[in-house]
């Protein structure tokens, strides 16, 4: 290097000269470096260059979650959980993290439109009023169809509106939410209060077709993960399900199970428990259990003869600490059977706790929506307003929808995108994103969670509530002019404690700061399980439809996709590119089929099949899914949108296959449609081939010392690197990790990682800095599943560094394998030499080609990489630097936990620990000393800085 510095015309100098002459040739204009616009009045407490955090609330369906928005210079750039929220506890659901991209979606409606032409908001409100007036004159109704309205203030606004507009019919509809649990709750408990599941208190969990560990429920993942430490307190998870879910993948015992038999199984378990001496709740007649006999299952389902009796013994032994869950695709009678089981096992009020749940509104799911559209088709409505609802896409019966929509003379639409439903409407009202809106939510009694804007309105949009309020103000004048005022007025009158020592304004600001306000609420007494309703359910379960011909008739389980959910997020490239957690398929949906069925029908990954049920058909590709129950198919809703530049045409819309809601579709015919497609999988090899790159042990053997972790020891000739000062390291606990991929999205948002699209995923050019590898082991019909989040291992003796011809990647004194993008010339040698395949190459100008305003989502602390450079995980070096600088500016030493990379902050399971390995008291140093620790490909002697703690399972061996 010294020669380089001394020579007169060094390489660097030469390149500088050439660059400068090129710059001159490009234009001899007067240099201008742009402007710095200073604030006229700086917002208090906000400093340019520092991250501001605002507490707000994310709502989806019936659930709401407290989140923290990280904003830079007024732009939200990252989301994480709000740690002051008593239920969210600092963890945000995966789709909330990704939804920041929808705020900056270039396809958003930018202004209100009347008959396709831009209109003023005043004119729009006038049009709405004249619609109401016309309805009154013609003596017809007005339909207000919305998504679930869970905000107590928004619900009050709608009921105020309904009082003022007599013909208003409000219906809330969520296309992908099943009605079965709610209807079972109504009949068995006389209330729809959904219990909160508390897996953290459970020692034995039985999940029937229930994805307890899906990434929309971070608190349940956290609860479950907290019970997976090795030792006697470790929980045991039994899963009976058709398709392989994240819950099934973590199960200690998983049974591929046809969902049509889940109700019979649950009642059978109840009978077996009763016969073993567990009493039925008072008022129950044991005769209702008589038809159910567990003994039929071992032969019919090819499972071990005694495993079910061991399960029953386990449940009995765990009374008070047992938890049985039924999934949304199961019919109401299965839910009733599960209520009975939980009542017998003393789980009510403990692991299933409804004592603080609020009564949700009744959704028009199931037959409700059909009845509304039928009355619309018969001309009952003069006008309709569709708000956050997209029936043109998601209503299962397109003919009925067409008939209904053409029978309504005037239609208005409130939403963020000109979607399928908006195309039917004359008046299109552009709506705010929730990060631009005000609201409140009541996740449980005694707890209110506030939503506040984290950015001014980007476009000429309005919050839906504000539009309704504008109408209401005109009809019934003494109203606050803005929804914020309406919200504050409700809080002042019904939330603000009258005898408080502070003013309302201070109280309100404190609530906005925390994002939540809670007060002690006495738990409501348990409602009694209604014996008659359960008896009815058991009769129904007896006569349940069984598939007659198992060779042609399949049971199809349709669930909202983990990524794009019911389709509302389908225009978000981050979520489209996020692979399905099990099949690892990005950009689209598939029909997961068992290996046995696929072999019988001569199908392989990508073969097209036609699914048909009652004349409704859909063609989609097959994915052979190890562990799928024979005779079943699993697929996801939310794809096949007909609008949106990203969403259009990705995957297949399966809503038309549904009957009444996302329940089970029994009797689906499957026929090979001929031909096949190449599917954009993120992972294409699924076996470990005997190499222990991921390790899992049975807890009992591991603790007894009979199954130690494999570690590679060899003699080194060259001493390995030593780091003075700090040495950044990471530990990943595979016993906690559930494979949900929240880390992937958090990393994408924090590090400006681009999406590449399906064609380039097919070429293996995806850019994610983290991937969650998923491997299957054992018999493909009953595999065990291993997850391993894989990112740059920051090897001490990194093989990528030695092959870089321009030294663009080299080592920092704190143990980071650093990447200088401005040096990188894109030879890709480093990627070839990386044994973990975690380096990503920018083949195109992804960032520069992104349409506005997407660039507002970029994190200004991370370089936006251009074409032709290599990139990879940096351990969030920008957060390391920020942590160090903040500690130094505050005049204190950096302490363990000050620095949290985005993946660790997002991980709902708390599986990722980051810190200084040279500090013996740090959590990461403790993890490195753990006996479960192993390093991936340790035999290469490259000394990765990441230790994985082997996953543990807790099988029941019957003693």
């Amino acid at each position: 290097m010294s020669g380089d510095r001394d020579s007169r015309l060094s390489r660097r100098r030469f390149l500088g000269l050439m660059g400068a002459s090129a710059a001159l040739a490009a234009g001899c204009s007067k240099p201008d470096r742009g402007a710095i616009a200073s604030n006229a009045k700086r917002p208090r407490g906000s400093t340019p260059g520092l991250t501001d955090s605002y507490a707000t609330t994310f709502q989806e369906g019936l659930d709401s979650h407290g989140v923290l928005v990280r904003a830079r210079e007024g732009r939200p750039i990252h989301l994480q959980g709000n740690d002051l929220h008593p239920l969210s506890k600092g963890k945000a659901p995966m789709r909330a993290i990704a939804d920041i991209m929808r705020l900056y979606d270039p396809d958003r409606l930018r202004q209100p439109l009347a008959d396709g032409r831009p209109a003023s908001w005043t004119a729009c409100v006038e049009s709405l009023l004249s619609m109401l007036k016309a309805a009154k004159q013609n003596n017809k109704g007005v339909l207000l169809l919305t998504g679930a309205l869970v905000s107590p203030t928004a619900r009050r606004l709608v009921s105020d509106l309904a009082k003022t507009v007599p013909g208003l019919k409000h219906a809330a509809w969520e296309p992908a939410l099943s009605d079965s649990e709610a209807s079972a709750l109504r009949s068995c408990y006389g209330s729809q209060r959904r219990p909160r599941l508390k897996p953290e208190l459970a020692r034995v969990v039985v999940a029937l077709e229930a994805d307890l560990l899906s990434p929309d429920k971070p608190s349940e993942i956290a609860g479950f993960a907290s019970t997976r430490a090795p030792g006697s307190g470790m929980s045991r998870l039994y899963v009976f399900e058709a398709g392989m879910s994240l819950t099934g993948a973590k199960a200690d015992h998983r049974f591929p199970w046809r969902p049509s038999r889940s109700a019979a199984l649950a009642f059978g378990l109840a009978r077996e428990l009763w016969s073993k001496g567990v009493p039925l709740p008072p008022g129950f007649d044991p005769a209702l259990l008589a038809p159910f006999y567990l003994g039929r299952f071992p032969s019919e389902e090819q499972i071990g003869a005694d495993i079910l009796s061991r399960l029953v013994a386990d449940l009995k032994g765990a009374r008070g600490g047992a938890l049985v869950v039924a999934g949304p695709s199961l019919p109401a009678e299965a839910h009733a059977a599960v209520f009975l089981l939980n009542a017998m096992l003393g789980a009510e009020g403990r692991t299933v706790d409804a004592s603080l749940s609020s009564e949700p509104e009744t959704l028009a799911n199931g037959q409700g929506m059909r009845r509304i559209l039928e009355s619309a088709a018969s001309g009952a409505f003069e006008a309709a307003v569709f708000w956050r609802a997209n029936p043109a896409y998601a209503f299962p019966d397109p003919d009925l929808w067409q008939a209904a929509v053409s029978a309504i003379p005037s239609k208005a639409f409130i939403g963020m995108h000109a979607d399928e439903t908006a195309r039917n409407c004359g008046l299109i009202l552009a709506e705010n994103h929730w990060l631009e809106s005000w609201n409140d939510f009541e996740p449980q009694q005694g707890l209110l969670s506030l939503q506040q804007p984290a950015i001014g309105r980007i476009f000429n949009t309005q919050q839906g509530e504000d539009i309704l309020l504008a109408v209401l103000t005109r009809l019934r004048p003494p109203m606050p002019s803005e929804y914020r005022g309406y919200l504050m007025a409700r809080w002042k009158s019904s939330v603000f404690p009258g005898k408080a020592a502070v003013s309302f304004e201070r109280f309100w600001n404190a609530c906005l700061h925390d994002g939540v306000f809670s007060w002690p609420e006495s738990p409501k007494p348990l409602r009694r399980l209604e014996p008659k309703a359960v008896a009815d359910a058991s009769r129904k379960a007896c006569s349940a439809t069984e598939v007659r011909d198992r060779t042609t008739d399949f049971e199809l389980v349709l669930a909202p996709a983990a990524s794009v959910h019911d389709g509302r997020y389908a225009n978000n490239g981050w979520l489209q590119e996020l692979p399905h957690p099990m099949t690892k398929l990005s950009w689209g949906n598939s029909a997961a089929m068992s290996p046995a069925d696929a072999e019988r029908l001569k199908l392989k990954d990508g073969s097209l099949v036609e699914l048909s049920i009652n004349e409704r058909k859909a063609v989609l590709p097959v994915v052979v899914q190890p562990g799928q129950a024979p005779g079943t198919l699993s697929s996801c809703l939310g794809y096949g949108r007909r609008s949106g530049s990203v969403a259009r045409g990705v995957g297949m819309n399966l809503y038309p296959l549904l009957q009444n809601g996302p329940d089970l579709v029994i009797g689906t015919k499957v026929r090979p449609a001929g031909g096949s497609v190449d599917l954009p999988f993120i992972q294409r090899h699924h076996k470990l081939e005997g190499r222990e790159v991921v390790q899992q042990r049975a807890s009992r053997e591991f603790l007894a010392g009979t199954a130690p972790i494999h570690r590679h020891h060899s003699m080194r000739l060259i001493p390995s690197q030593r780091f003075q000062g700090r040495k950044w390291s990471m530990a990943v606990d595979l016993s906690r990790c559930v494979g949900c991929q929240s880390c992937v999205l958090a990393c994408q948002s924090e590090n400006n990682v681009p999406t590449v699209g399906p064609e380039r995923v097919l070429k293996g050019r995806e850019m994610h800095w983290i991937r969650v590898d998923r491997y299957y082991e054992g018999d493909p019909s009953r595999p065990s599943v291993l997850f391993e989040p894989m990112f740059c291992q920051q090897c001490d003796d990194a093989p990528c560094e030695t092959v870089c011809p321009v030294a663009a990647t080299n080592h920092s004194p704190e143990g980071l394998n650093q990447m200088a993008y401005n040096r990188c010339v894109g030879t890709r040698y480093c990627s070839n030499n990386c044994p973990y395949k975690v380096r990503r190459f920018n083949f195109f100008e992804y960032a520069a080609d992104a349409p506005e305003p997407m660039s507002l989502a970029f994190n200004p602390e991370v370089t936006v990489r251009p074409r032709g450079v290599m990139e990879k995980c940096t351990f969030c070096v920008q957060r390391i630097d920020e942590g160090k600088a903040l500690a130094k500016a505050a005049g204190r030493a950096l302490k363990d936990g000050d620095i949290e990379p985005a993946c660790a902050a997002a991980c709902p399971a708390g599986a990722i620990v980051f810190g200084d390995l040279n500090d013996p008291k740090s959590r990461v140093a403790a993890a490195f000393r753990d006996k479960r620790g192993f390093r991936v490909l340790e035999e290469l002697e490259i000394n990765p800085s990441v230790t994985y703690l082997a996953g543990l399972t807790n099988q029941n061996h019957g003693n």
Binding site: P31, R33, A37, N39, G49, M819, V864, K888
Partner: protein, 196 residues
């Protein structure tokens, strides 16, 4: 050479074409190198002093009145950007001082209307450089070390060339820029210190 006809090649080698070609090659090289030399980043960037929308004088404020730099650029000690003061900070004094000057009238208008003042950027780093004011200011590096005799400048001009060698020169030997009692012997030289 297979693409060139043998006779054509001979013609080029011998005739006056060769001399013309050689001369123009030399000319191109001289132009490239000459223009490059004259316009290298150093000579372009140092001394850059754009006309500001309001002729704010650092000589009057930081020089004659000896106002501390951090009074206006308060971010320098706690944020990566030093920050430009908002108009309200200026108006703290100028509500009563020099209210009849055209510049202050312009300032007051901006402050009253709430419109930002678009100050011309003087120092600009490439996007892949992440400079942080905090560690430098907190270590006791004087602002003038990089920004030059700012207390003497009526119009701010760029004093130091913002080339990597200038950063590294000081990072390798920070003593001259630090207060005499400073314990810092070296500043980081690894890539991640500035690039990420």
């Amino acid at each position: 050479m297979a693409l060139l006809d043998e006779t054509v090649w001979d013609h080029v080698r011998q005739g006056p074409v060769a001399a013309v070609l050689a001369a123009s090659a030399l000319g191109v090289a001289a132009t490239v190198l000459g223009v490059g030399w004259l316009t290298q980043p150093d000579s372009l960037s140092r001394g850059f002093a754009p006309v500001q929308p309001i002729p704010f004088s650092h000589r009057d404020h930081a020089g004659s009145m000896a106002m501390p730099c951090l009074f206006c650029h308060s971010g320098a000690a706690r944020s990566r950007s030093a920050g430009i003061p908002d108009a309200d900070v200026c108006m703290g004094c100028h509500r009563v001082t020099k209210t009849d000057s055209p510049a202050i009238i312009k300032l007051k208008e901006a402050s009253d209307a709430g419109t930002p003042i678009a100050w011309k950027r003087v120092h600009s780093l490439p996007d892949h450089v992440f400079f942080d004011h905090r560690p430098h200011v907190n270590a006791g590096v004087a602002c003038q070390t990089c920004h030059g005799p700012i207390q003497k400048m009526t119009t701010v001009r760029q004093h130091m060339s913002l080339r990597m060698s200038n950063c590294l020169g000081c990072h390798r030997n920070p003593k001259p820029a630090l207060p005499p009692d400073s314990t810092i012997a070296k500043a980081p030289e690894n890539c991640n210190a500035c690039h990420r």
